[in-house]
Symmetry: C2
Subunit: 202 residues, 2 copies
């Protein structure tokens, strides 16, 4: 079983987090999910609805997977030194580090993505790129896998990425089963990203 | 502005709730979202992660939209008389009543769907049908609109339904904008349901 530290902060994007958590969470014998925050106080999402953290960043725990969602709150958290330090430590000891949407800006700012290929939300592309000039940013991709780093494009792309990650960890048949349980039509081609063109990136 | 009462109960399905809440929540001048539960205690989803309710079912409030997710907890809540009574009252005074997945079993059990067309999760179809024998159940549909009732198929279908509901309330261009913000490929044909066949329903 792999433990997942899913980071939450004020202004995280609901679907960035809960699309992937739905899919990992269905495999309850394979993944143990924890919402990690700086305090145990309920955390308001970008859509105002609140989640209850399971554990704080103070706890000295090693996780198998670090998961970072995006959302408007990222613009503040890139300047949160304690949180960035937690990301560095957690990513360094994790087997995989995943992000959705502008969550990759937090990974980029922490430096862990330096020299790696990664992608992000296409509507916020230029701002995210500024957070990590040493990252090899991919302009057109539904998601990008580069060693331990798996980063996705905006919001819904996180679900396609999660199914890709499940295929990597447990095989394509498990990924297809999870997609069917969720009645989700998986965009399984990582390169298939119509939104890059809609945002003038290609 | 329309207020949405999104019902949560132990064992609700994460994506049933948060896919639609992501999309309604992006239109923060049009929709005011509230998580409604029987108590203010954090509520554990089917994926174990917890949400913090905004308000209880005791509060005597009229909502514009009632939203009911599905999940394993539905099998218990169909026998929760106080909750079923709240659903009847809230649906009777709401402009729209929406459900995702087995959430329609709660609506069916409450009787509000009697004589209406509705759909549900294809993997749980026969059990849901038993909860409301006077409902006209549609075996193959991504979602079904019948007057004030908009019910969707399983999990991810809730996002397609929500975009359909946004088109109904605010026009197709708004629905398309929200889909683009979420980088979501909208299955806009209500009849397009490949999962009915996969589950042997047609």
């Amino acid at each position: 079983m792999r433990t997942i530290a899913a980071l939450v902060f004020p202004g995280f994007e609901l679907l960035d987090l809960f699309g992937p958590m739905e899919m990992f969470g269905l495999l309850d014998k394979e993944f143990d999910l924890k919402l990690v925050a700086e305090s145990m106080t309920p955390v308001a999402s970008n859509q105002r609805l609140k989640v209850k953290p399971d554990i704080t960043t103070d706890a000295n725990i090693q996780y198998d997977i670090l998961f970072v969602p995006g959302g408007a709150g990222v613009r503040r958290e890139v300047n949160n030194k304690a949180l960035i330090e937690w990301i560095v430590q957690t990513s360094n000891t994790a087997e995989f580090t995943l992000s959705v949407c502008t969550g990759s800006a937090l990974l980029a700012k922490s430096g862990v993505l330096d020299g790696h290929r990664a992608t992000t939300n296409k509507a916020a592309f230029s701002w995210v790129v500024e957070q990590g000039p040493k990252v090899e940013w991919i302009r057109q991709a539904r998601w990008v896998e580069d060693g331990p780093f798996i980063t996705s494009s905006g919001v819904s792309a996180g679900m396609d990425m999660t199914l890709g990650a499940l295929a990597l960890m447990h095989g394509i048949e498990i990924a297809e089963k999870v997609a069917m349980w969720c009645e989700y039509t998986w965009h399984r081609d990582k390169e298939n990203d119509p939104f890059a063109k809609l945002h003038g990136l290609v």
